[in-house]
Structures are given as C-alpha cells and as structure tokens.
C-alpha cells in the first residue's frame, strides 16, 4: 500500500489527538477517576491506533501500541488501575509520540513493583504467524543478498537502492513487531547505514558492503535460530559489534557531490516508504494443497486417457468430439497446474552470488559470477533437489577450477576468474550449465588418481576415451583435491552430485579443455509427477521406461548387418563401432531362464551414470505420459523399479529404474566374473590381455595390451605428410602414423573416414601411432597363441578362440618395417643399430651396455620379450637355443650386458647353458636371468644352482623389466 506524504501527515495528526485524549483520561484516573468506565475507551483507542498503524505498515508504532494494549487488557473487569500502571501508560504515551516522530525508542514496558503486573502472559505468537515471518525473512534476506551482490559489481539504480532500503526497513519493522529485538536491531543498523547511499548523497564503499554482508549473514543465522526455536540472546554482543561497524563505515562514506546531506529531512517518518513488493494479484497457497491437486490431476489424466481409448473404439461422433475437447482442456489444465509449482531457477541461482563472493574472498581469488536464464522455471521440488548439487559444483569451480591470480597472470588470462551459470529450456528439459574459465581437468592426473584409488586398473587407462576419463570424477571415492579444504573435498564428491541429479531423472555431463576451463551440464526434467515414457513388453508384463534415460531403439533381425554377439557369455551389440553391453530383461527379471529365441530383437539403448547399455525387450508398444505412483515399501528392495503407473486401458505397468537395472546387471556381471576367475585359477594357463581392433579383413586383429601406450581418435583432416610418412601433432610431439592395413598387406587404410582410431605404441622411447579401422574391445584370455605357420612379418601368431580366430599383431615389427629397418634381427647383429642405440641411450661419459642376449625357442615369447625389452630401450639379440646362444656369446661376449634365457629348450637347455657360461672365464661375469613357465620352488633352486642370478615367471612385463634393469646395472658396475 503506497502512502503519500499527505496521508502520513494526516495519520500522524490524528494519532497525536488520540494520544492526547488518552493522556487526559489516564491523568483523571490518577486523580481517582472511574477505571471501569474509562476502560472501553482506552482499549478501543489503543486498539484502533495499533490497527491503523499496522495497516499503514508503520510497524514500530504498531508494535509499541500493541504492547500497551496487552498490558491494558490484563486489567479488564478490574475496579481500578494501580498507580504504577498509570505512570507506565503515561510514559508509554510519551514514548508513542516519539515513535510517531520517527525516533528510536527503547521503551521498558515492565513495572517496577513486583507482583502487581497482571497475570496477562506475554502474548504467545501463533506458530503459523512465526512460520510466515520466517519464510518472509528468508525471502527478503535472499533478495537483499542478491541486490548487495549487484551493488558490489558497481551498478545499482535508484530504484533498486530504494527496494533494498525498503526490504531492510520492513524486515526491521516486522522483527520488532514480533519482538525479535536482535533481528530488528541488525536490520535497523543496516537501514541506517544505507540511508546516505540511498539518498544518493554518498557513495558506497567496499567496507560498508562487507559490513552489510556480514550483517545479513548474522540475520540469516538469527532467522534460522528462530525457525529452529533456538535461543539467540547470546548473539547480542555480535549484533552490537556489527551495528557499530556499520555506523562507523557509513559515517566514513565519501560524499557523492555538494548536495547537502539532510537525512532527517529526507524521511522523518516511521517508514512511509515501506511497502511489500508482494504483487497485488498473488496469494500464498500451501504446497500440500498443490501436491494434492497434482495427484488429482494425475487421476484426471488417467480418466482422460481411458475416455480417449474408448472414443477410438466407438462410432459415436458426438462423443468423439466431446472427448477431443476433454483431451484439450485436460492438457491445458495440466499445463497450468504445472505452472503453479514452477519457480524461477533464479531463486536458487541467486544464492550463488553470495557463495562465490564469500569463497572468492576466502580463497584469495577474484571470481566473478554471471547468471543468465534466471527466469527459467522449474518444478519447486526439483529446484530443491538441485540446490545442493549445484552448490557443490559451483564451490568446486571456485576451489579447483579457477586458478590463483598469479597462475592466471602467468598463463595470460585475466586475473579474475569467471564462473557463468546458464539455465535454459531444451527439448522439454531444463539445462543448467556451470562453466568456469579455470585450468580445466588434467587427464593424466585423473588417470593416476583413479588407478591409485583402485577405481580402474593400469591396463584400463589406455583405452579410456577422454569422455570416460572425465567421467571418473563422478566415480564414488574420487576427489581431485590434493588436500581436504573446507571449501570442497570433504568426502562427498561429484558422485553424490550425480546420484542426486539422477535420482530426479536428470543427467550430468562434463566437458573440459586443459587451460581453457570446465563446463558441467545438468539436464533435468521439468517436473517429476508426470513423465513421458516408452511402454514396452517383457515376457507377459508391461513396463514403462522413462524417456529421459532412453537414448534410442535398435531393431535387429536376420537381415541386419550387425548381429548380437556373445562376449564371454554375455550378449553385446556393436552400435556404430562401440560395444554396447546388453541386458536381457526377461532373464534379469527371472521371467525366463534361457534367453528366449527371438527372430527379431528390440534393444532399448539406455543411459545410466554416463554409460550406455542396451536392454533387450520383447515388444515396443507405445509412448505415453505416465503418472508416477510410488511403489509399496515392500518392493523397494527390488532395484529394478522406480514406481508404477496406471495406463490408459486401466492396466498397471511397473516403471523401470534404469540406474537400478544397470546396477543389478553389474552385480550379475561381477558374479560371473568371479566364477570365471575361480575357474581360471584352477587352470594352469596364464591370462594375457589383448586389445581387439578391426582392419580391412574379416578377421579380428589384436595387440598385447601391455604394449599399448594410449588409444586416440584423430580427425583425418589433422593428419599431415612429412616426406613419405604420415604424421600428426600429438601434444608437443610429432607422432609418426603407420597404417596397419598397408603394412599387413590389406590395402590402403579406409580412406574418407573423418576419424582415424590410432593405437599409440612406445618403441625405444619414441611414440608411434598405428592406424586401425576401429578399436573394438579388450579381452583377457589364457588361450595359448599358436605361432604363425606361414611366415609373415608383423604378425606374432593366432589366438584360436571358441567362436573365431584372432590374429595377434607385432606392433614393433610393423613400426620397424615402416621405417625401413631390416626385418629379421633374430640371428643377425646390426652393429650400426647398436651404435645408434648407444649414442641415444648411453650418457656421454659412461657408455652403458644395453645389449641383451635373449635365448628362447618359442617364437611368440621370443618376439614378445624382445619387443618388451626393445620398448624399454635395450638392444636385443636372440638365439633359439643354448647352442646358438653360446655361438653368439663367442663372438659378442664383450657387448652382452645380460643373458635372458628360457629353461626348456631343445639341444642345449637353459640350465646347461648357465653351467657352461659360468665355466668360461670370459663369460662368467655376465648376469643371467631365467624366464620360464616352470617356476616352482624346486625349479628356481635348480636354476640358482646352475648359475642364474634371477629366476622369473614367464611374461610378467613389470618384474621382467625391473629385474633386467637391476642386472644390467650390476654388470655395468662390474665393468666400470
């Protein structure tokens, strides 16, 4: 209610008249006048005064007169008013005059003589009024915080300033009205300090803003205590200190111009400007009422659906048109009703002004926050649900994302970092993007951390895509903070963020560029109550899959190019080159033991926790907007369902919980894994990991996974030619590319592809990229490789799997070949090579022996150990058996730093070789290492007796290389 100066003056005059009249009566009572006769007039007068003061939002006046009225009421029906109270009222009337004059009054309503105060208890405030007060305060505090943040960035118009002032002012008023003195005092101090700024006579200073923020925080705390019904009297000193700070800083404000300051003249009243900005056309409605309306709406949607289905079956045209109309109206009501629950996302985002401001001070970083799309609306319950996750993300950005000013300056960025929050609608969903211009995520650090935490194995690191690496930060137990700060890294990490977002049917996505920044994108449905879903059949049952988590539908029949394949007993499907794990829902749900024979398989590709998987369903029926009904508590322990719904025909469908299903399948998978593992443990064979990829050949090709440095996908357009070789920039390096197709004689690499998958291999300290057609999967097997029968360069041998043949490629030979190196080095010794190697590897002062004699009869092991050693920078000469080894040693004894030998060999075995070497004075200093699949204690003892310095189990790359390093060093030490 707007109050003009005239109206205010009129009111004041009237009030003073009333006070005068009362004063007269109290004085007459003091002279022995009749109290019961006067009571009614006194009560009416005070009551009216209070009422009109409250109406005109003169809250202090209202509060004051209210208190007087209360005391008076205590004497209703009494014969007389005690003298002490007469003087109390007289003093009270004097004080009221001061209040009307706009002065601050601290009136003591108590009477000095004990026992005389009537037993009127302090007015008990109705709980609902307090609750409303608290809600209002929270809203106001939030608004003030927002305004202050804008003010800090330097631009606040007169109107906004007025609003700020009004907010603080009305908060003060109501606080006093409710007798929350400390809250009122804080607001009052804020109000006074703002006066000169609002009158545009003085400019605001950062110190004042700081004090204002602190006061606001104090108010927030007080309001919380009121809400929780906790005492807050202990805060008196803090409030006092804050008020002093405010007064001091506001007294030191710089003058804006020569305009004389005259705050007294500006607004002497009790807050005539105070005005609630509650729109005239809005009312408050309990959320519970809206919730029950929503439930009824759900019922109505169901009836509508049933009517529509019926109308489709009937010939009655009139009915059909009526039901169409019903359909339209129902949809409209539904839409409008949804809107009642909608709130602008700005209500949550606005808080981040404070969060970022406080953090940026705390962390000593300058961070600016920009928010766009604050008006984007979202269901209130969802808004609540995203508040904490978003706060976490914003805090993370401040703490980990944005660098310190020094670092930023060095990297040529503006010192102040910026965080931007964007909210917008996209495809029936709300998208919230939180982006920062900080340092971005470091892939290597993430990988290292994930391996340390045991989230992934070292072997897995090589074939994770960039996206998958980023997803690691959402894994439980992952936190990149090097130390735990109070800002973030308190154990609850991004996994909680993701869980919370997914719980409300949302998704989280992350993109990051090193040095440029990180953006986290959250997608959430507009509302939870009614969701679009796909209705499917599994077995005899009907189920609903929420559309949000549905990526696509794939139909596979006998004619399809891609068929469902079985990988280690689990079905998979190659979806555009990626392996999509499949879950047969009828099996998972226990509807059938065996996968049913299907001529046509429908796969619904779903997404949970950033990973895609397919579920096999029997039939796709329809899409529909379904009303989600909670499922009985008894069924909560089944993870597969998130609820149930009634369909248009009145039948019931269970709603799948996509996350739950993926978890159930995970458990199943892990179980089968552990069974496999125990079966393997009983078998003697060793497991070897392979990376599978495809070439211009029907046969799948593979590489021993431990050779793989990384997997990359390059854009074809980025590949350049350097002479005859194809190369690509790879970080700071130039990566030579070798076409596996060309080297193996499968013709040219498939041209025209926009993206080229590349396996990066390290050989002698240099990285090479091997181009393949597509990277398929990794595989772990104990099947022994059969050496290639027909000699073919670049190929180790074949894996004869149950269902297919896999060709194992020798990447080092491919690389060597493409570089024009001699193909067979097994029995030849290239001195040129050795020299190059020495130059490269040896230090200038002490050329080290890096030559190793490898004695091994099995082609695969000979080649793989050789490759392994070469990869680590050694020169390797090989021998097929002990005799050959002795021959070679005769010629090159001085150069050999180490002999690595198998035990089981034809002609002269490892043990015999060792005995001979130890007998010859020219050879006995050379360290010897046995590498054998025979590695029980007895075998090791025999080996040691024969003269081996070390005895290793076959093909354990890690221990092999470290032992080799140790032994060669020893030999070099002896030689020096």
């Amino acid at each position: 209610m707007a109050l003009s100066q005239e109206e205010l003056e009129e009111f004041n005059a009237e009030s003073l008249e009333l006070l005068e009249a009362m004063e007269k009566i109290f004085l007459s009572l003091d002279q022995g006048g009749d109290f019961p006769q006067s009571y009614d007039f006194l009560f009416r007068t005070l009551h009216n005064l209070k009422g009109s003061a409250a109406l005109m939002e003169l809250n202090r006046l209202a509060a004051h007169t209210h208190e007087l009225e209360n005391i008076l009421v205590g004497f209703k029906g009494k014969d007389s008013l005690p003298k002490e109270y007469i003087s109390l009222f007289l003093r009270g009337i004097d004080a009221t005059r001061l209040v009307i004059a706009g002065q601050e009054v601290n009136f003591d309503f108590s009477v000095k003589i004990e026992g005389l105060r009537p037993e009127a208890p302090a007015p008990e405030l109705p709980q609902s009024a307090v609750e409303e007060f608290v809600t209002e305060c929270e809203e106001t505090i939030e608004r003030v915080a927002k305004t202050l943040a804008v003010m800090e960035s330097g631009s606040l118009g007169k109107e906004a300033l007025d609003e700020l002032y009004r907010d603080v002012h009305s908060m003060k008023g109501t606080a006093f009205l409710f007798s929350f003195e400390l809250l009122g005092a804080t607001a009052h101090a804020m109000e006074s300090s703002l006066e000169n700024v609002r009158n545009e006579t003085h400019d605001c200073t950062p110190e004042l803003l700081d004090a204002l923020f602190k006061s606001l925080k104090q108010m927030e705390m007080l309001v919380q205590r009121i809400k929780a019904k906790q005492p807050f009297e202990d805060q008196a000193a803090t409030v006092q200190a804050l008020a002093e700070t405010l007064a001091r800083t506001s007294a030191n404000l710089p003058l804006r111009d020569s305009k004389p300051t005259n705050p007294e003249a500006a607004n002497p009243g009790t807050g005539s400007q105070a005005k609630s900005d509650e729109g005239a056309g809005s009312i408050r409605v309990p959320v519970a009422l809206l919730d029950s309306l929503m439930t009824l709406m759900g019922e109505m949607v169901l009836v509508r659906n049933q009517v529509l289905q019926y109308s489709n079956r009937t010939e009655d045209l009139e009915f059909a048109s009526m039901s169409k109309r019903l359909n339209v109206v129902t949809s409209e009501i539904q839409g409008e009703l949804m809107k009642t629950r909608m709130q602008p996302i700005g209500n949550v985002l606005g808080k981040f002004n404070r969060v970022v401001r406080d953090l940026s001070h705390e962390l000593g970083k300058g961070i600016t926050l920009s928010i766009s799309g604050a008006e984007t609306e979202l269901d209130k319950s969802l808004l609540e649900a995203i508040k904490d996750p978003l706060t976490h993300i914003v805090r993370n950005s401040c703490d980990h994302g944005i660098e310190t000013p020094e670092v930023r300056r060095k990297s040529g960025k503006p010192e102040a970092g910026s965080i931007s929050i964007r909210a917008f609608h996209e495809g029936g969903q709300v998208v919230v993007e939180v982006g920062d211009d900080g340092k971005g995520l470091n892939k290597e650090v993430l990988l290292k951390k994930a391996v340390e935490k045991g989230l992934i194995t070292q072997a897995q690191t090589v074939h994770l895509s960039e996206k998958e690496i980023f997803q690691l930060i959402f894994a439980p137990g992952f936190s990149t903070a090097a130390k735990v700060t109070n800002v973030s890294g308190r154990g609850v990490g991004m996994d909680v963020v993701r869980t919370n977002i997914e719980r409300i049917g949302g998704t989280v996505d992350l993109s990051s560029r090193s040095g440029i920044g990180t953006t986290i994108k959250i997608k959430i449905p507009l509302t939870l109550a009614i969701v679009p879903a796909l209705i499917v059949k599994v077995g005899d049952g009907t189920f609903a899959i929420p559309q949000v988590q549905l990526e696509e539908l794939v139909r596979v029949d006998a004619q399809s190019e891609q068929q469902i394949e079985i990988l280690h007993g689990s079905p998979v499907y190659r979806l555009r080159g990626n392996i999509l794990p499949l879950i047969d829902l009828s099996q998972l749900l226990g509807l059938s033991k065996e996968p049913p024979a299907r001529r046509v398989t429908n796969i619904a590709v779903l997404n949970a926790e950033g990973c895609s998987f397919g579920v096999i369903i029997d039939e796709v029926q329809d899409t529909a907007d379904i009303v989600v009904k909670p499922i009985n508590r008894l069924l909560k322990s089944i993870q597969a369902y998130s609820g149930a719904t009634v369909l248009g025909d009145g039948s019931i469908a269970l709603i799948f919980d996509v996350l739950g299903i993926s978890k159930m399948a995970q458990i199943a998978r892990e179980r089968s894994k552990s069974i496999e593992a125990s079966e393997r443990a009983s078998a003697t064979g060793e497991l070897q990991d392979f990376l599978l990829f495809s070439l211009n050949s029907k046969t799948t090709h593979a590489l021993v996974l431990s050779y793989v440095h990384r997997l990359e996908v390059f854009k074809a357009s980025e590949i350049e030619n350097s002479g005859q070789h194809r190369v690509i920039r790879y970080g700071d390096l130039i990566l030579p590319l070798i076409s596996a197709n060309a080297q193996l004689g499968y013709g040219d690499s498939a041209g025209g592809n926009a993206e080229v998958p590349v396996v990066v291999i390290e050989r002698r300290g240099q990285l090479y990229g091997i181009e393949v057609n597509a990277i398929l999967d990794t595989m772990s097997t104990d099947i022994e490789m059969t050496p290639e029968m027909i000699r073919q360069t670049g190929i180790f041998g074949n894996l004869n799997m149950k269902d297919r043949l896999i060709v194992v490629v020798d990447p080092f030979e491919l690389i060597g070949r493409s570089l024009g190196e001699p193909v067979e080095q097994e029995l030849t010794w290239s001195s040129a090579n050795a020299r190059v190697s020495d130059d490269k590897l040896g230090t200038a002062s002490e050329p080290r022996l890096r030559n190793i004699l490898l004695v091994e009869d099995n082609v695969f092991f000979r080649r793989s150990i050789k490759s392994l050693l070469e990869k680590d920078g050694y020169e390797v000469m090989t021998a097929n058996n002990g005799e050959e080894a002795l021959d070679l040693l005769g010629q090159h004894s001085a150069r050999v730093a180490l002999i690595v030998s198998d035990i089981e060999m034809p002609r002269l075995n490892g043990l015999q070789l060792a005995t001979r070497v130890r007998q010859q004075p020219s050879l006995q200093h050379i360290p010897m290492m046995a590498v054998s699949s025979l590695a029980d204690r007895r075998a090791i003892q025999r080996g040691t007796e024969a003269g081996f310095d070390a005895y290793l189990e076959k093909l354990k790359p890690g221990p092999l290389l470290s032992k080799v390093a140790e032994l060669t060093k020893r030999n070099n030490g002896v030689a020096a």
Binding site: L589, N632, R633, I652
Partner: protein
C-alpha cells in the same frame, strides 16, 4: 497379566486355508473380489502383484503364502483392502465372512501351538462360539512384512 478389557470390538472376518482371521473393521477400507493382478517380477512369493483399485495402485499380498499354507491358485478369491503406512494393501484371502462384534474380555494371547509363521502376524485369539478367531494386527503385519520383504 492382561488387564480385563471392557466393551466390544468389531472385526472383519475372513478365512485362509480353513482358519478364521479378523481385522479391526475401522482399519479395513473395503472388501474386493477377484481382480486382475499384475505380477511384479523378482518380488517375494507372497507378493501376488499390483491391482488397480479405481485408479489407485494396491499391492496384493497372498495370506496363504505369507502364512506358509499351500497356495492353491483357485482358492484366493476375495481380498481385504487396508492402508498400511500410506500404501494400499490388498490382503488376499479365500473367503470373506461377516463383520462380527466380539467382547474384549474373550480375547487371549495366541497359544503356543500356533505355528510361528502365523503367530508373528497376529496379536491374539478371540474365542467364538464354535470357532477361534485370530486377530491380525496391521502394525505388526507391516513390520513383519518389511522384514520378510528384505530377506
């Protein structure tokens, strides 16, 4: 000692595998006939499935299965619908009897011979003329059910 109870109590009665049971009449929302039950895969055996009760979804629980009596498909005909902790539950029995008024002083705790799988759901027995009526306590039922469901 159980204090002497006064007055009467009204119970909705029904039979399961030949035994007579009762639930306080005020706790019963309605009695329903056979309805289409949508099975819930992976649910415990006593959960028959979900029933559409005029737009509300109720969970049908087979008392025969719950009480460990042999479940004959054709025997479950009628059900007693009540609300347990805000959820509609349809307790599937064989037949529904009358609403009876019983005197509280004829109430007794269940004798030891009652098998434990039934005993855990009932709070006591009413001695009727010619029959014994076991009273199901919905609060106990609710607790026991959640234990049974999470097994």
């Amino acid at each position: 000692m159980i204090p002497a109870l006064k007055g009467t109590e009204q119970l909705t009665t029904f039979s399961v595998a030949g035994d007579l049971f009762g639930i306080e009449v005020l706790k019963v929302q309605e009695v329903a006939g056979a309805a289409t039950v949508v099975p819930v895969p992976l649910a415990p055996p006593f959960v028959h499935g979900l029933v559409n009760l005029r737009g509300q979804i109720a969970t049908a629980l087979g008392l025969r299965e719950l009480f460990n009596k042999d479940a004959r498909k054709d025997s479950n005909q009628m059900s007693v619908v009540c609300r347990i902790e805000g959820n509609l539950v349809s307790l599937v029995a064989d037949t529904i009897g009358d609403v009876v008024e019983v005197e509280r002083q004829r109430f007794e705790p269940p004798p030891d011979t009652v098998p434990p799988e039934v005993r855990r759901y009932i709070k006591g027995i009413y001695k009727m003329n010619g029959a014994l009526l076991s009273v199901i306590d919905l609060d106990i039922l609710s607790q026991e059910l959640s234990i049974a469901a999470n097994k």
